[in-house]
C-alpha cells in the first residue's frame, strides 16, 4: 500500500450528465479543476471548496447585440449556448475546449458587446 504522494483531501468532481456527453472514458481523470460534491458533513476536509460549475460561464451582452455577433464571439472564444437564463440577453454558455473558466471570462470581457462575464457560481443550502 503506497501512501499518497501528496496528502490528498477527499476531492470529488461531479460530472454532469450534460457536460459529460462528449467525454471519453478517461474524462476527468486527475480531477484538476474538479468540484466538491460531498454532502455537508462536519469534519470532512476539502468540503465546500468548489466555487463554480466547471466548464460554464454566464455572459451578459449589451442590449441590442444581434445574434450574429453573439455567434461570432462564441466561435472565437470556443463557447456553445446552453440556454438563455433570463431574457433578453443573459446566456449560460459551455466551454467546448479545455480553456479554463478564468481565462474564458477574461477573454469575454475584452468584447465591447459583453457587459460582463462570470463563472457560474454555486450556492449551498444553509
Amino acid at each position: 500500500m503506497s501512501p499518497a504522494s501528496r496528502m490528498f483531501q477527499m476531492a470529488i468532481f461531479l460530472v454532469l450528465a450534460v457536460a459529460c456527453a462528449g467525454l471519453g472514458s478517461g474524462a476527468g481523470k486527475g480531477g484538476d479543476g474538479g468540484i466538491q460534491t460531498i454532502e455537508r458533513k462536519p469534519g470532512v476536509t476539502g468540503e465546500g471548496e468548489r466555487r463554480y460549475a466547471p466548464g460554464e460561464v454566464l455572459v451578459r451582452f449589451r442590449d441590442g447585440t444581434d445574434a450574429g455577433t453573439i455567434a461570432s464571439i462564441q466561435r472565437e472564444v470556443h463557447l456553445e449556448t446552453v440556454k438563455v437564463v433570463s431574457s433578453p440577453n443573459l446566456f449560460l454558455m459551455k466551454i467546448v475546449d479545455d480553456t479554463s473558466v478564468e481565462e474564458t471570462v477574461q477573454r469575454l470581457q475584452r468584447y465591447r458587446e459583453v457587459v460582463y462575464a462570470e463563472p457560474n457560481y454555486v450556492r449551498r443550502i444553509q
Binding site: 477527499m10 480531477g31 455537508r40 470532512v44 440556454k83 457560481y121 454555486v122 443550502i125
Partner: protein
Amino acid sequence: MGKRVIRILLAMFVMLSIFWGTDIGSGGGLPGGRRPAYAPGELLVKYKPALRKAAAEYLRQRWGVSTLRTFHDIGVHHVKLPADLAVEEALDLYRNDPDVEYAEPNYYRYLKATPNDTSFGLLWGLSTISAPGAWDLRTDCAAAVVAVIDSGVDFRHPDIAANVWSNPAEVAGDGIDNDVNGYVDDVMGWDFVAGDALPMDSNDHGTHVAGTIAAVGDNARGVAGVCWTGKLMILRAFDAVGVAKSSDIIAAMAYARSKGARVINASYGGGDFSQAERDEISNLEAAAILLIAAAGNEGTDNDSTPSYPASYDLPNIIAVAATSQDDSRAGFSNYGQNSVHVAAPGTNIYSTKPGRQTIFSDNFDDGSIGDWTVQSPWGVSTNAYGGTGWSISDSPGAGGDYANNIDVSARPTNPIDLSGKTGAVLTFKLKGTILAGDALYVETALDPATWTPLLGLYGDSQNEWVDLVVDLGNLDGAATAYFRFRLQTDGSGTADGVYIDDVAVTAAAVQDTYQFLQGTSMATPHVTGLAALVWSHTPALTHLQVKERILNCVDRLTALATTTPVLTQGRINASNSIRNVPAPPVGLSATAASSSQINLTWANTYYGQIGFKIERKEGASGTFAEIANLSTNTTSYNDTGLTSSTAYTYRVRAHTSDNDSAYSSEVTATTPAPSSGGGGGGGGGCFIDTALGK
C-alpha cells in the same frame, strides 16, 4: 362564594372589553382566516346612574331592545338587539343618547389562537415570535404567493399538499406549454435541476423550509406553518446534495417574478459576488418582490465577509440571522450590523420531512455479492462501516492495493424499477484512498451497455467513512435502471482503493414524517411566512412597507446588540408586525451641549419610515410632557432654550402610522451654569449634529 367569583370574572370581562375594545376592527364573521370581533345582535350599555331603569324600559319599548342581564356592580346592561337592528346602527343610537355613558359591541375574546396540530408543542419558534398573537388577526397567506427556491418540496406531503401553489394558466399533464413561459405543464413550479415539472425534494431541506412557511395549520396533524394556509410556488434549483448553480437560481427568480410571487425564500448562500444574480434581484425589486435570505452559517460578520444573496445592497432583501431557544444568537449564525437585518428562530426547528421509500438496499452483511455482477478483483471485505459485517471493495484482502491500468466495475445484477417514482437518490458510505490520476466513478444506465458517469472521485478519506449522495433524478420514471461503481487507474502508482457500504436507492413516497433541523436556513422561512402573513392581512402595503413592519417591530435582544449585532438588534415579533407596533428606541443618551441645550442621540436600529416622540421632565419632581414629534427616521434631537443649572430627564418613543412603541429607558443630563463672558462663542457649537457621525 362561587357566585362572587363569577361576578368578579364578569366584571373583569367587561373591563377588558373597555380597555381593548378599540384594538379590534369592525365586522362580524370575516373571510380569509379572520374571526368575528364581536357577538352579532348584542351590546353592552352603561346608562347614567339615575336613569338606568327608566332608560332601559324606554329603549325596550322604542326599539325592541331587551336586557339579557345586568351587571349591577358596574352598571352595565347586556342587551339583545331586535333582528332588524345591526350592531353598528344600535351603537350610533346609543352613543347619541345623552343618557348613555357608553355603549360598545359585546366583543369576543379568543384564547391566543393555537392550532390543533399534534406537534404544535414542539414549535418553540412560533411561540417565541408571538405567532399566536398574529393568528388572532390572520392565519391565511393566500393573497401573497411565496416562492421557495430550494431543493424542491415534497408536494405530496399530507401537511403541505393543500398549500401548494397552482399555476392558473397551465393545464396539468397535457404536454403543452399553455402559458407560453417556456416550461411545459408547470402546474406548481419547476425543477430547474432535472428540467421537469415535478420539483420533488431529494435533500430534505426544501420540504423543511416550506413547512415552516406554510405547513397546513389546524388540521390535527403534524406541524403548523407561520401561514396556516397559503400558496407555495416550488422552484427546485438545489440538487440532492444541496448545491445549486447561479444560472438555475437566476432562472428560478425570473420564473417567480413572471408568475406573480410576492415573497421569495432564499435559504442558501455563497461567498462569490455574481453580477448576474444581483441584476435579477434588481428585477425583483422593480417588481416589488421581497427576497428573504439566510445570513449564512459560518458564524462570521457579513459586513466584512459577505454571503450572497443576503449581502447584496438592494432594498428588497431581508437578511436573516438565527437565534436559539434562549434568544441568544445561534453560534453558527452570521451577523452584521449593517448587512443583516433581523434574527429568527433557527435551532431545533421541527418541520416537514419528505417521505422516502427504499427501492434497493444492500449492506453486504451476509458476506455475499451473489446478486451483484462484479469484475475481479471487486469483492467483499470485512473493512465494514460500523466495524462489523462486510463491505465491498475494489481490492479486498489484507493490505491489498488496486493495480495499475485497470478498469473494473461492480453493479447489482437486477435492474431497479423506478417507474412512477420521483426524487430518486443513491446513497452509500465510502472510505479509502485513490491516487490522483485514478478515479472511482458512479455511473448510471437505462441499459447496461451504455453508462453515464454522474460522479467521479479520488483522494484520501483519512480513514473516515464519508456519506455520499448521488442525485438519480435522471432515472426518475425508468422501469429498468442500473448503477455501478467503476475503478479506472493509470500506470502511475497504486493505493488501497475504496470500501463501500450501506448502498441504497430511495425515492419519494407519501408519508407523514417530520424532523428537527437547524441553520439560518430554518430562521429565514419564519420571516418569509411573516411577510406573507402581514401582506395578506394588509394588502395595500408596498413591499418596502412590509419590510418596515418586519424590521421595526422586533423584540430587541441583547445578544444582537453589541459584539455580534444585526441592524435592528432584534428577533422578529409576528404579533407586533401585523399590528405595526414598533420596538422602542435603544441606546438613548443625553449630553449637555451648553447651558441652554441638551443633545439626545439613540441607536440607528430602524428601517424606512418611522417617527419619534420626545418627552422631557424637569428636575426630580417634574412630569413628562411631549416636546417634539419627529416624523423622520433620525437618531438625534437637540433640545434648545433650556434653563441653566437644571437637570432634565428624557424618554423617547418610536411611532409608526398606527402605533407608538413602549418608551425607551430614561436618561438625564444637567445643563451647566452659564459661562461668565464670551457666551456667544459657545453658541455656534450648539448645533453640531451628533447624529451617527459615520
